[in-house]
Amino acid sequence: MNDIAAPTIEYGQLAPMLLVFGAAVLGVLVEAFAPRYLRRSIHIPLTLAALVGSFALVLVQVFVSGVPTSPAAMGAVAVDGPTLFLWGVIAALAFVSVLLINDEDNFVAQAAAVPGSADEEDAEIAGFSQTEVYPLVLFAVGGMLLFTASNDLLIMFVALEVMSLPLYLLCGLARRRRLLSQEAAVKYFLLGAFSSAFFLFGMAMVYGFAGSVGLSDINAALPNVGGQEPLLVLGTALLGVGLLFKIGAAPFQAWKPDVYQGAPTPITALMASGTLVAAFGALLRVFWVALGNFDWDWRPVMWGVAILTMVAGAILAITQTDIKRMLAYSSIAHAGFLLTGVIATGAAEQNRDALSGILFYLLVYGITTVGAFAIVTMVRDAGGEAGHLSRWAGLGKRSPMLAGVFAFFLLAFAGIPLTSGFFGKYAVFSAAVAGGVLPLVLVGVVSSAIAAFFYVRVIVLMFFSDPAADGPTVVGPSVGTASVVAVAAAATVVLGVFPEPMLDLADKAASALFVR
């Protein structure tokens, strides 16, 4: 028997992620041992500090210790330029989402109490709150960090579950409209588990082909494909199903509107920003690092998926009457725009442009999304948030400030110049044109125009129609929500007017592409 060499683990490189997981475990201990009235006041600083610390550790790696050039933890986790960029983005987005989550009354008092029962009333009167939300969010964020960085399909699968399982639970914890929220949780869970089973079977097929689940090993095995094509093609397709489900690409988009509508809005903000960023990181890694030399086979299918996603997202959004569902379809359309960048592979130079475009797009889309959902939490009826679009009529006349900021976010989604969304779209589409996928970009531009139509329709509704007499009230935002909106608006302006530093940073992060 030969000796097993103890594996080496680069704790320094993994520190941003380990910090988040460590804080999540501490959060569970707080839940276990701190008295009920203290829990929230311990959780908030702990959670925020963990995310700030994680962000700081990313900065330290980028600017002090330098970007690593080889994968960490025996090739299981790759902390490279794109990973560090996306880690920073995820930590920042999670930070603003936690500020929103912290806003008191979005979460159920006691999840186990049946809605409308005496138990629930007692829990509300006693002022209970389900403070498990904070550790769950940290676990989900840790999963997102690992998901983008995993250089091994097994690690990727575990990260996918660590990210998803807390989100399934968080979806069902809305304080109001609990039936809707619980239904969203069941749907998200069943479909999510279904898609991760597909991912897993794809992983089994790829393992059968390559004899390993390391992304670079799979890449190395590609030249010896002779006679094994069915395994590889099937594996690629099934892995694709799992990953495309997570980014909400058509035809796997059905869960997104339902879940976004039913989940508590702060959690929707976290999912719409953080999960999308993480899932794109993983998608890029699988399709570029492991299957990059297999692109003649997966690219045609990806073309179809991208076109379908863009068109379905843009057209179905027009028919929506609920603001959160509309934003969900908008998120589907944006996933389609991002996919055009994924398809634009080719020479290293092209890949670099496409990658930096995607990185920048993910950042600007994520931050604007959190801002938009923060505003959704502020427009309320007696029974909670006023989701129906008709309730938003005339909002511009009653609270011009709020409606103005929301209109600005919508314009950024539409990609109007002088907003960050313009440069995001420009970066991805120009890289895609250079990568020779012009028809796809044309479809993208047309569906952007369709999408712009429904964004403008909401703006017209807010500013040019008369407010209903019993219209929704706009609650005075708490410090947290106000600062989320302010930060998101500021970022959307700054990145729209003066994007060069961030574009440079994205370009630098993408310069070395992914380490293998």
Partner: protein, 98 residues
């Protein structure tokens, strides 16, 4: 030699996938997802045998643990909605649409 195991695994996976799509009870649909995961395990172990390395067997361990965590989360969600609605039928969950 290992082909039979692979065929069995694909069959189990397909049974599970079809079950998720056609069964109306959330618990049964969920059991079908578990069947899919176990079909994956069989495929992993088979390929581990075929390639002569142990990766696939270790992966099967990880999958079992993840599946257990998924069971707990999933049943918690399904039991919660059952207590609210007195039904675990997926067809009854129809508030979210359009």
């Amino acid at each position: 030699m290992t082909t039979h195991y692979l065929v069995l695994s694909v069959l189990l996976f397909t049974i599970g996938a079809v079950g998720v799509l056609i069964r109306r009870n959330a618990i049964v649909a969920f059991m079908c997802v578990e069947l899919m995961l176990n079909a994956c395990n069989l495929a992993f172990v088979t390929f581990a045998r075929q390639h002569g390395n142990l990766d696939g067997q270790i992966i099967a361990f990880f999958v079992m643990v993840v599946a257990a965590a998924e069971v707990v989360v999933g049943l918690a969600i399904i039991v919660t909605i059952f207590r609210t609605r007195r039904s675990a039928s997926i067809d009854d969950a129809n508030l979210l649409k359009y």
